[in-house]
C-alpha cells in the first residue's frame, strides 16, 4: 500500500485554520508527499466553521477522503462535527484550552502562546508544532517551512513552535519519501501564472468568489508585471478589457457565473469585433447568488451558449492546478490567434484547492504571436482571408486606420448591412470556427486515465476528474476528461471511445450538462452520476452509484 494520509484541521473563521492547513501541506510537501488540499468555508468573516482537508500521499490523489487519519481541532465545533469522520485508530489533536475531550491528545496551545508572549492567531503555530512532533517530523523541517512561509514575527513563532515541540511526545513516525518536493499552487494561482507566462498585461475584475483570488494574487505579485484594474462593475470590466486588447495589450477578465452573466453582451461584442479576450469563469453553486463558497458545475451549458448571434469561442475546463496553468496560457494564445473569446471554465474547488504542481509545466507556455499586418497597402481590420483570421494592427500604427465594430461591417470596419457583405462577414467568422475545430484536434483536448482498454468508461470534467480518477483506478475502468469542450474534439473523443461499451458521466449538477454536450455530439451516456449538494464527490459515492447501474 502506498502511503496516503488525510488530515482535517478546522476552526472558526478568523482562527486561521486555512493558513495552518497550508503550512501542514507544505511540511508534507517537504517530506516528498503529493498534496491536495480541499477548502471548506462559509461566506462570513468571523465565527462559523471552516476546515481544510489535506490529503498527502505517495501518489497524487486529487480527491478528499471520507475518513481522516488526523483531526486537528482549534475549536469544539470542529471536534463535534468531524469526530465521526475519523478512521479507526485515527488521532485527534485538540486545543485543550477550549475543548474537553476524553479521546485524543490535548495541547494547551493558547497557554503556550500566552506564556511566550504571542497573539491568539499564533495558536496555529503551536498546533502545527504539536502535530509535527506527534507524527515524528523533525523540528528542522518545521523550522524551514515556518521560516519561508511566515512573514510576520518569525522569531516569536519559532519560539512558540519550539516550546510546544518540547512539551509534546512522539506517538508515531511518518515516513520521509524519496520524492522531490513539488510546487504547491491553488488553481487560481496557477491560472494567474499561466496567463502571465503567455504575456498577459492587464487583468480586469470585480470581486466575486471564487474568482477573486486571481486578482489578489496579481496585486501581490508585482514582479509578474500584470496590472490589476478593478472597475465599477463586470460590464465595465469586460468592455475595458476589450478596449485594451483592441489597443494591442493582452487582457483577461475573471468572475463567477453571476458576474459572467453581466459580461455576456460584451462577449458577443468580442465575437463580432473579433477582439481577443480570455474570460475566467469560476463556477460556484447556482442558480443566482446560490452558494458563494460551495461548488457546482452548473455553468457549462451557459458558457457554451452565452451571447446573442453566432460567433466562435473556445471553452476550456481545467481540472487541477497543472491544467489551470497550461490551459490558461494556451487559452490566452488561442484568443489572440483566432481573435475571439476564450472561456476558461473553472469551479470553486479547482480555483481554491491546493495541488502539487510539477515545475516542468512552466516551460510549456510562452506568448505566441498572432498574424500581424505586413504594413503593405491599405490596412483592412476585417480582411477576408482563407482561414477567416485577419492580420492585426493596432491604433497608433503608422499608415493604418484600425476600425473595430460591434455593428456588422465591411472589411475596413465601417458599418454595413448590405446582404452580400453581411453574408461574407458571417462566413468569415464561421471559417474561423472551422479552423479552430481543426486546431482543437491537434491539442491535448481530452485526457485519459485508469485502465485504457476497459469497456466501461467514466466521463468527468473539472474538479470531479480527480475523484473519478481514483474510482477508475480502484475499479480498473477508464476515465475520460474532456478539457477543451468547444469546439468539441469529435475525432479525439471517437478514438478514445473505441472499444468502450458503457459510458457514465460524473459531474456536480442536477441536469448532467456534460452528458448533454456529449449527446449533442452523438455520444449517448448509459448513466449519469450526479451530485448537487455543493460538496465534492467522495469516491465511495460514485462507486456505490456505479454498482447500482452497472
Amino acid at each position: 500500500m502506498s502511503k496516503d494520509y488525510s488530515i482535517l484541521i478546522g476552526g472558526a473563521a478568523g482562527q486561521g485554520s486555512r493558513l495552518a492547513g497550508n503550512l501542514i501541506a507544505k511540511i508534507f510537501n517537504r517530506l516528498g508527499y503529493q498534496i491536495y488540499v480541499y477548502e471548506d468555508y462559509q461566506s462570513l468573516i468571523r465565527g462559523g466553521h471552516n476546515f481544510s482537508q489535506i490529503r498527502v500521499g505517495e501518489k497524487g490523489f486529487q480527491s478528499r477522503r471520507e475518513k481522516n487519519d488526523f483531526l486537528l481541532a482549534l475549536d469544539k465545533n470542529t471536534l463535534n462535527l468531524h469526530k465521526k469522520d475519523l478512521v479507526q485508530n485515527g488521532l485527534i489533536i485538540f486545543n485543550s484550552d477550549r475543548i474537553e475531550s476524553k479521546e485524543g491528545v490535548g495541547v494547551q496551545i493558547e497557554r503556550i502562546v500566552k506564556e511566550m508572549g504571542g497573539i491568539p492567531i499564533m495558536a496555529n503555530t503551536a498546533l502545527i508544532s504539536a502535530f509535527s512532533k506527534i507524527v515524528g517530523i523533525d523540528f528542522e523541517i518545521l523550522k524551514e517551512v515556518f521560516t519561508t512561509e511566515i512573514k510576520k514575527s518569525i522569531d516569536l513563532n519559532l519560539k512558540i513552535a519550539k516550546k510546544t515541540f518540547e512539551e509534546t511526545k512522539t506517538l508515531l513516525k511518518v515516513k520521509k519519501l524519496e520524492q522531490k518536493p513539488k510546487i504547491l499552487l491553488t488553481g487560481n494561482e496557477a491560472i494567474a501564472l499561466g496567463m502571465a507566462k503567455a504575456g498577459l498585461k492587464f487583468y480586469f475584475a470585480y470581486p466575486m468568489t471564487p474568482s477573486t483570488s486571481i486578482m489578489n494574487f496579481f496585486a501581490s505579485r508585482e514582479s509578474l508585471n500584470v496590472k490589476v484594474i478593478q472597475p465599477e462593475n463586470e460590464i465595465s470590466v469586460i468592455n475595458m478589457a476589450l478596449g485594451a486588447a483592441f489597443a494591442g495589450k493582452r487582457s483577461a477578465v475573471g468572475s463567477s457565473g453571476g458576474g459572467f452573466a453581466l459580461m455576456v453582451e460584451a462577449l458577443s461584442l468580442a465575437g463580432q469585433s473579433e477582439t481577443p479576450i480570455l474570460i475566467v469563469e469560476s463556477q460556484r453553486g447556482g442558480p443566482s447568488t446560490g452558494m458563494p463558497t460551495y461548488n457546482l458545475q452548473g455553468d457549462l451549458s451557459f458558457v457554451l451558449s452565452a451571447g446573442h448571434g453566432d460567433f466562435p469561442r473556445f471553452v476550456i475546463a481545467p481540472g487541477d492546478a497543472e491544467q489551470c496553468f497550461y490551459y490558461a496560457g494556451l487559452g490566452l494564445n488561442l484568443a489572440w490567434k483566432y481573435q475571439t473569446p476564450v472561456i476558461l471554465l473553472a469551479d470553486k474547488d479547482v480555483s481554491e484547492n491546493t495541488f502539487s504542481v510539477d515545475e516542468k509545466i512552466f516551460g510549456l507556455i510562452k506568448p505566441e504571436n498572432p498574424v500581424f499586418w505586413d504594413k503593405k497597402g491599405e490596412y483592412k481590420r476585417y480582411k477576408i482571408t482563407e482561414n477567416g483570421n485577419s492580420p492585426l494592427a493596432f491604433a497608433g500604427e503608422k499608415n493604418a486606420i484600425v476600425k473595430a465594430n460591434s455593428y456588422e461591417h465591411d472589411e475596413f470596419g465601417v458599418s454595413n448591412d448590405e446582404e452580400k457583405i453581411v453574408e461574407k462577414m458571417q462566413e468569415k467568422r464561421l471559417k474561423k470556427y472551422v479552423a479552430m475545430t481543426k486546431e482543437v484536434e491537434k491539442l491535448p483536448a481530452i485526457k485519459v486515465y485508469g485502465k485504457n482498454k476497459s469497456k466501461t468508461a467514466l466521463i468527468s470534467w473539472g474538479i470531479s476528474k480527480g475523484v473519478a480518477m481514483e474510482v477508475a483506478e480502484d475499479l480498473g475502468i477508464k476515465l475520460i476528461q474532456p478539457i477543451i469542450i468547444e469546439p468539441f474534439p469529435t475525432k479525439q473523443m471517437k478514438k478514445t471511445l473505441e472499444g468502450v461499451k458503457k459510458i457514465f458521466s460524473v459531474e456536480l449538477n442536477t441536469s448532467g450538462q456534460m452528458a448533454q454536450v456529449l449527446n449533442k455530439n452523438g455520444i449517448k451516456v448509459d448513466g449519469k452520476i450526479l451530485k448537487y449538494t455543493g460538496r465534492p464527490f467522495l469516491a465511495k459515492e460514485i462507486e456505490a452509484k456505479l454498482k447500482r447501474i452497472l
Binding site: 484594474i229 475595458m240 478596449g243 460584451a266 476600425k403 465594430n405 458599418s415
Partner: protein, 268 residues
C-alpha cells in the same frame, strides 16, 4: 480609403439638416487643428455607443472602436490604459451615457481617466423613433409617453462635476466655430474632459428656437473654482422655462490622471 481625407466613403444617413452635421464639422476642424499642432493622426482613437451619434465614427477616417450602447467609455478607458500615447475621444448620446451607461460616466469622471467625452445631447432616444431620456424635460411627448413623460430631467453637468471630472464644458451643435474651440480644449486637457453638446433633434424634438433664445457664451469666467462652476451649471436645470443657458468652459483643473497613477511605480 484616402489617408489624407478625414472623411470615409461611408454614406451619411443622418436626417437632412441634422445638427449632428455641425458636430461632425466641428470635430473635423478640431482634429485637423490638433494634427497641425503636431499630434499624429494615427494617435487619435474614437469610440462610440449606439444611437444617432455613433454613426460619426463611420464617417471619420480615424482609428475607432464602435462599441455597445452605454459602454464605450469603458472601451475608451481600456484603450487609454493600453497605450497612454493615444488621444481617446468617446462620442456618446444622452440615452447612451446618461441612461444605459450612467455608472461608467460617473466612475470615469471619478478616476479622472485621461479621455475626452463628447455628448450629443438631443434629449431623446431618436434612432428608436423618440422616447424620453434622462435629459428630456418632464412632459416630453415621445412614442412611449404619448401623454408626456412623468419624470424630471437631471442636470448632467452637475452630476459629472460632483463626480470628479477635471474639465466640464457645454457647447451648441449649431455654433460650429465655438464648438470646435471647445473640442480642441477638451482634447488638450490632461484628465477627464467632458463636453456636453446641446444638439436639437430637428425631427423629434426641435429645440433650435428654445436654445437660440436662451444660450449665451461665458465671458471672463474663472473656471478654476468648483463652487462657482457648480453655481454656473445650475443656472439652467434642463427644464423648460425662461432660464438662460450658459455655454463655454465651467471647470478646468489639473490633477493626476488615472493612467499616470496606474503606471506610477511600474516599469511597464
Amino acid at each position: 480609403m484616402n489617408q489624407k481625407n478625414l472623411l470615409t466613403y461611408c454614406l451619411n444617413t443622418w436626417c437632412p439638416g441634422c445638427p449632428n452635421f455641425g458636430i461632425l464639422e466641428a470635430v473635423r476642424g478640431a482634429i485637423s487643428e490638433l494634427i497641425e499642432k503636431g499630434i499624429s493622426r494615427e494617435n487619435f482613437v474614437l469610440t462610440c455607443g449606439i444611437g444617432c451619434h455613433g454613426k460619426i465614427v463611420d464617417y471619420l477616417n480615424l482609428n475607432s472602436f464602435y462599441g455597445l450602447h452605454g459602454r464605450c467609455l469603458c472601451n475608451a478607458q481600456g484603450i487609454k490604459l493600453a497605450n497612454p500615447n493615444l488621444k481617446v475621444i468617446a462620442f456618446v448620446g444622452d440615452g447612451d451615457a446618461y441612461n444605459e451607461g450612467i455608472s461608467h460616466l460617473i466612475h470615469a469622471a471619478k478616476r479622472n481617466s485621461n479621455i475626452t467625452v463628447l455628448v450629443h445631447d438631443n434629449r431623446n432616444f431618436a434612432l428608436t423613433v423618440s422616447q424620453f431620456t434622462a435629459t428630456s424635460p418632464k412632459g416630453f411627448k415621445g412614442s412611449s409617453t404619448p401623454k408626456g413623460s412623468i419624470e424630471e430631467p437631471f442636470n448632467p453637468l452637475e452630476l459629472v462635476l460632483t463626480s470628479g471630472a477635471t474639465f466640464v464644458a457645454r457647447g451648441y451643435a449649431l455654433k460650429i466655430v465655438e464648438l470646435k474651440d471647445l473640442i480642441v480644449k477638451a482634447i488638450e486637457h490632461d484628465g477627464f474632459s467632458f463636453l456636453e453638446i446641446l444638439q436639437p433633434c430637428i425631427t423629434f424634438f426641435d429645440t433650435r428656437k428654445f436654445y437660440e433664445e436662451r444660450i449665451y457664451k461665458l465671458k471672463d469666467f474663472d473656471f478654476s473654482l468648483k463652487e462657482k462652476a457648480l453655481e454656473k451649471v445650475r443656472e439652467w436645470d434642463y427644464k423648460n422655462g425662461d432660464k438662460k443657458i450658459p455655454t463655454g468652459i465651467f471647470y478646468k483643473v489639473e490633477k493626476p490622471t488615472f493612467e499616470e497613477l496606474v503606471f506610477k511605480f511600474s516599469q511597464f
